[in-house]
């Protein structure tokens, strides 16, 4: 059973930020020790509360804030997603399927139907690590301990790129698609508002900040905006799981290409499941930018995909991720 806590309904984002600011003033050294936390879908938060990984004194419910579940689109300004848009709504929105295909696909592949009905896009980006040492009864480095047990332990699901002191991977699927579409987070604190690209939002945990993202103790996401993609932009999200549905990604790829006639004017290839943050396969992007569709289909996609994985440093149990990542990149590019 969860430890007792208070529960407060916020009626505005500003009120939620104020409650976070007042309650988390003492600035706990570990993010897990924040006395006040927001609850939206609750699908991740309640699991870490039930496992006593976090034990907030107060939950601030933001589902009572009006209009945070809106999806709006305007060609001039692009797509506006409220942080409470459910994964189900993302998955079914016609315009998102049409113009931001990889995002709808990522939402669809993210979890079971029940979880997609409950989970919000904002909360999805703020999920805690799924590493079993983090979730289990281990005082691991990410939780403030001295050692990452996954490095020498059971690391089948862990990072093969950009490994820091923690080698977890970020569990979000939509994150990769949002980055491919150059999305920006609008973040509100008690006294200031700031904008941050989704790509910058995710961080490799550092000794000073053992967290997977840059959200401060007193901040919340109030909107996610995506520019309108140029004409002839196509995207896809591919995700490999242990089974066909409802698992976390072993490896995933959001790929987006903007064509200029027969040429690739812009390419974005963002991988999940391979690094502590969503990983931009820059080498592969550079390899294909400016090249033609027929190049792509006559060996270029394969070459670019394999180059993208050349810096991988697999651990004892996750060497499969490098060839899997290359295969997914290739398959994604050939689908565009």
């Amino acid at each position: 059973m969860m430890k007792p806590f208070d529960h407060v309904d916020a009626n505005s984002a500003a009120r939620a930020a104020a409650l976070l600011g007042e309650g988390n003033q003492a600035a706990p050294s570990r993010p897990e020790d924040r006395p006040v936390r927001l609850i939206a879908g609750g699908t991740d938060l309640l699991t870490v509360m039930k496992d006593d990984i976090v034990s907030p004194q107060t939950l601030v419910n933001i589902k009572t804030v009006p209009d945070l579940d809106r999806i709006q689109f305007d060609v001039a300004t692009g797509l506006h997603l409220g942080p409470l848009v459910s994964l189900t709504d993302l998955e079914h929105d016609t315009l998102i399927n049409d113009r931001y295909t990889a995002l709808a696909q990522a939402a669809h592949l993210s979890a079971s139907p029940q979880l997609r009905n409950m989970a919000t896009i904002g909360g999805n980006l703020l999920q805690q690590s799924r590493c079993w040492y983090y979730r289990g009864p281990f005082h691991c480095w990410l939780k403030g301990g001295d050692e990452c047990y996954a490095r020498e332990g059971e690391n089948k699901y862990h990072a093969i790129l950009d490994q820091g002191q923690c080698i977890t991977v970020n569990p979000s699927d939509p994150a990769q698609a949002l980055i491919a579409f150059d999305a920006t987070l609008h973040i509100l604190g008690p006294s200031a508002q700031r904008d941050l690209k989704v790509e910058q939002f995710f961080i490799n945990p550092t000794p000073q900040r053992r967290a997977l993202n840059q959200l401060d103790d007193d901040e919340l996401i109030t909107a996610i905006t995506l520019p309108t993609p140029p004409p002839d932009t196509h995207s896809v999200y591919l995700k490999m799981m242990d089974r066909q549905t409802w698992g976390f990604a072993l490896v995933s790829v959001a790929a987006r290409i903007t064509w200029d006639g027969d040429r690739i004017a812009r390419a974005d290839i963002i991988m999940g499941g391979v690094a502590p943050t969503p990983y931009r396969a820059t080498i592969a992007e550079q390899e294909i930018t400016g090249r033609s569709r027929s190049d792509l289909h006559s060996g270029l996609a394969d070459r670019a995909a394999h180059k993208a994985m050349r810096d991988a440093h697999p651990l004892e149990h996750n060497a499969y991720k490098a060839p899997l990542g290359a295969a997914l990149i290739k398959r994604a590019l050939l689908a565009l």
């Binding site: 007792p4 529960h7 407060v8 609850i39 309640l46 107060t58 979890a111 139907p113 409950m118 549905t245």
Partner: protein, 174 residues
């Protein structure tokens, strides 16, 4: 707790609609909807198995969508409409008659869609939500529709058949 935060620690009274009837419960904020249904309202059809949103045995319908009641706080269901397995069978208008099973329940019996039966209420509620959104699903859509519900007996093929049979029964019942 910081003194300048509003107090909300103690139990509170919330009213929600469960199977078309208003129910009032007096619960702590940490009470899940699942525990409120089972412990406070005596509706034990929704099952507590993993209690972490992984198995689907606690599936109920909130509004018009299937959710996991183990990852839902009861206090956040105030004013909401909840459907559980107990609400599916309807009274037959003929005097002295027994409850009439819902088409999905009927289909589960016809298709032998369970062994131990523990996951069945969750499976049925997931299928009910699926059929309300998609009255004529393909086999693949049924598989996706119950992909959030585990059956450790492995009765899946018959669960899929039952869902397709229920869709047929509901369509012909018009």
């Amino acid at each position: 707790m910081p003194s300048n935060l509003p107090a909300g620690h103690s139990r509170r009274t919330i009213t929600m609609t469960v199977n078309d009837e208003q129910h009032t419960v007096y619960v702590e904020p940490r009470r899940t909807l699942l525990d409120a249904l089972r412990e406070d309202l005596g509706l034990t059809g929704a099952k507590k198995v993993c209690d972490l949103g992984q198995c689907g045995a606690c599936t109920v319908i909130k509004g018009n969508r299937a959710i996991y009641s183990c990852l839902t706080l009861a206090v956040e269901c105030a004013g909401q409409s909840i459907q559980t397995i107990e609400g599916l069978a309807q009274a037959d208008p003929a005097p002295g008659s027994q409850l009439r099973l819902h088409a999905i329940q009927q289909a589960f019996i016809e298709c032998d869609a369970y062994q131990c039966g523990y996951c069945t209420p969750g499976q049925i509620m997931a299928i009910k939500a699926l059929l309300e959104h998609n009255p004529n699903p393909t086999l693949d859509e049924v598989k996706m529709g119950v992909s959030g519900n585990l059956c450790r007996c492995g009765a899946y093929p018959n669960i899929f058949r039952a869902a397709l049979r229920a869709a047929e029964l509901l369509r012909t019942a018009g």
